[in-house]
Homo-oligomer: 408 residues x 3
Amino acid sequence: MGSVMLGYVTDFFTYETTKSVVVKSWSVGIINRLVQLLIIIYFVGWVFIHEKAYQVTDTGIESSVMTKVKGFGYHNDRVMDVADYVYPPQGADIFCIMTKLIVTENQFQGKCAEFGERFSCTTDKDCHKHFGSVLTNGVITGVCIQTSNDTLNGRCEIEGWCPAENDQVEIQPMLDVNNFTIFIKNSIRFPLFNVTRGNFPTTMTATEIKRCTYHPEKHPFCPIFRVGDVLNYTGQSVDTLASQGGEIGINIEWKCNLDLNIDYCVPKYSFTRLDAPFAKNAISKGYNFRFAKYFKTENGTDFRTLHKAFAIRFDVMVTGNAGKFNTIPTLINLVAAFTSVGLGTVLCDIILLNFLKGAAQYKAKKFEEVSEAQIEASIAQSPGSQLSLKPCIKSSYDSGAMSLATSD
Amino acid sequence: MGSVMLGYVTDFFTYETTKSVVVKSWSVGIINRLVQLLIIIYFVGWVFIHEKAYQVTDTGIESSVMTKVKGFGYHNDRVMDVADYVYPPQGADIFCIMTKLIVTENQFQGKCAEFGERFSCTTDKDCHKHFGSVLTNGVITGVCIQTSNDTLNGRCEIEGWCPAENDQVEIQPMLDVNNFTIFIKNSIRFPLFNVTRGNFPTTMTATEIKRCTYHPEKHPFCPIFRVGDVLNYTGQSVDTLASQGGEIGINIEWKCNLDLNIDYCVPKYSFTRLDAPFAKNAISKGYNFRFAKYFKTENGTDFRTLHKAFAIRFDVMVTGNAGKFNTIPTLINLVAAFTSVGLGTVLCDIILLNFLKGAAQYKAKKFEEVSEAQIEASIAQSPGSQLSLKPCIKSSYDSGAMSLATSD
Amino acid sequence: MGSVMLGYVTDFFTYETTKSVVVKSWSVGIINRLVQLLIIIYFVGWVFIHEKAYQVTDTGIESSVMTKVKGFGYHNDRVMDVADYVYPPQGADIFCIMTKLIVTENQFQGKCAEFGERFSCTTDKDCHKHFGSVLTNGVITGVCIQTSNDTLNGRCEIEGWCPAENDQVEIQPMLDVNNFTIFIKNSIRFPLFNVTRGNFPTTMTATEIKRCTYHPEKHPFCPIFRVGDVLNYTGQSVDTLASQGGEIGINIEWKCNLDLNIDYCVPKYSFTRLDAPFAKNAISKGYNFRFAKYFKTENGTDFRTLHKAFAIRFDVMVTGNAGKFNTIPTLINLVAAFTSVGLGTVLCDIILLNFLKGAAQYKAKKFEEVSEAQIEASIAQSPGSQLSLKPCIKSSYDSGAMSLATSD
């Protein structure tokens, strides 16, 4: 019993290694080493150094953005400050700077004539086609009313906030927006590595920050952006944007290699016009929205001032990822690299066994053939001894291409 | 010296290939090729074609959403327009359409009776249990005051904005919300591939867009959505949503195969009720929030109108990823595929060396055994020549299962 | 013809397996098995069990957050309720609780003296240095005007909303914020697996939710958070935050192993101070923003009340990922594991062929050499028969280290 056990243990602690044929041929030898070199160069140069396949990547960046706009502008002979032109006011990552306001004052609930040539009429019937339209300033009642300033033609009547808005007026946009500044405070975190970073260095003093203005080369880490510069970087003219509105993306990109010093983990800013994909469509050029301020008369009646605001909307978008050495991707890629180096033999086998002088001889050396017939014969002849098995080596027709599938 | 050098060089430019045993047996041969075929089919069909393992994927989609609601509704005998019922007004990705407003007008700072049966009292002591409660309309003072309309019972007194809100009133919600339309402008970017797309084709004209309404089959790329349709797609009734409020998710999904023409990179819309996971909880059905409009009397006293707004909140959520051919995943998966094909030999080895007739003979062919004793003997006998080493081939007990670990 | 065809078919259905040398040596055998054991332990323990490499991961979590604040506070002798101190009111994922308000009432458009010692002047020239400054309360006109309360020195004149804001006043912040509660409703979805979850169990009743308060151990799934507790968890003092403002992150983390019961897919809350990376910078401590309420006089002149609000901003950030068994990563990692086990032979080969007694003998067993000269000789001798090819086994100088590249 014990010796059988020992036999098993002895059999277990053996080492099995493949038997190899070493071909001493300059042609195949050089091809072999060349292929291996190419594979190694590819893996070391591209996979490991360029693509950093030895790192695990955290793409789930957590970000918090705080913004603050400063500056004064003239609009309709009034000075506008931050509380007047920034919406929403709380300094979110998406905020609008209103550059042109079409103001319709003292709107009360009631009935009045709709504004616009499209709504001119002579009889009530002319207005019925507008029933249910959402492109009006109120609910179409279906009545055609005479207006004082247009005695021949009437206008379709609407029910809602009156008087109706006239958004065709020419208003000078607030071009002072060019000199406004945006302060962006962005703190990010890579949860996988528990790394927290801010968008300006901790060594920057308050005075340094207050005085600087972002410049891609001179002040790449200054968190204060001049609106004119930002529009410039996106290639937009301030006149068009201020009068039609538009959407500007301020992208903060964090690409961090955490195997290096954490100080190299810095933001990179880029600026794009977000509505660029729609540049060819005639619709919805620009950006505008409507909001109202509500008032009460002395006797408690509600009235409002409607604002159609053309605004430049800024979207601060934070993207990024961080990489750090990790054994799992390293191992998997190393194994892939080693295995790939081994795959070089596939190519060499094809050359060796098919195209080289003496291919048949090489085949005979590489492949040892055993057929069912031989095995059966050997069993019949001497069932107890397999030492008498006479090797019958002959050329195999198994092509090198086939060995591609079985070589490892 | 030179000849030794040459010897090393000659030895380096050799080609080493494994010595193989070719078993000419129909049974193992067929099993071998079948296993290889299955593995190849799996890799080609599933890994490469279905799962596109040859692509690198960008999941860090950047997105900017602009929305615009249009439509008129009647609420409390007043016509409500966009400036009245949409909050926030700037056309963000998350916006609310208020469908029911409980308005408490002319609230002044002061002390008054709390509203509700829960706060009825006869003595001050009855009110002490409410101290510090956050479910009231103001700070409980601990005093029980008589109210004119309830002579027997008093009400607990609160300090804050008076009169207290009565949110139990029955108010007809604004069902016209059904006919409102939402225009969504969504531009996305895949930073890894620097691909920018908009959610409607650049060939669409302004008139086409203004006239169309989204329909999953007929107009899948129309960016204008009827609220009634959206609620329909989520299986919600407009009556419940309009009176209780609710959260609707409009999901824009971008799944782009950038190996194809960029025109196939289009959005797919889906609609869900976001508070679905809480459907079973009795709490917080629906969605509402409070806001106030502030006024001043002639002599400068502040007063406000409190609104409890029941709203349908729309969250436009953009998700997606883009894939494009890349050598790294392709190579890693190809290597995995080749290696896996090679792993087929493990199964065949087990069959060949254990279950086939003549297994012992096959073992003798496959394994060549060498023991420490032999080596030592051979060293003692002829230390200078290893050609005289007599191979001692005998059956190995190493099972095929063991060779699983060492076969490659 | 047919027999040639059959020959090809017979040749195709063969099975090729590597010829192996089994070394019966305790030293190499034990090293071999030990290395294999270590590799297996690494893959099973770390790669598969700890890192769950058999799962595919969805990191594109979709999330919708609804918040509701409750509580009353005293500020400037007035009771503030939710409609007064929360901005924006609609219950978004980012909201501010204003804790200190510097109110400048009755501002009209006009010209007046700027506030602050910095703007004191004796002649107009003293004011010219402030031209274009954005750190003022209006546009500097360049005129120095005498102010009634400061007869010796004048102040620079500004144009804009007058009177200018004095933000240096000492105001007691609303410390009652400590007792406010935040209710968070968060529903998430993993689009890859189409799994939807809410942040509190469906078994929780309305009364249970209304009564509970979040506690990391006692009530980890209660969705109601006391502001005081949250500030406590981040290690911040309420006094500093309430008077200077600040940004608090409420992180909801979903780490779901969908191979387990879905009930284990639960949120984990953590709380951080988001402006922590800027703690060392002197600038922009805290968080504040300005907004205005607009009024009209009887005769229609606009005036406003400017608020400088110091607020605690809460960012509810939802992160997470879900993993589920998938064949592709499993297979790739299994193949990597098997291949890695095979790579153990590389180490053993180096030991066997270089450092073991009888290394030359082992080399002779493992490597069979064939040179171009032999092949040519054999072709010349008997071109028809390769059976007569006499194997010429001799020691190869190919080191074990070299075989690292070609072993598989």
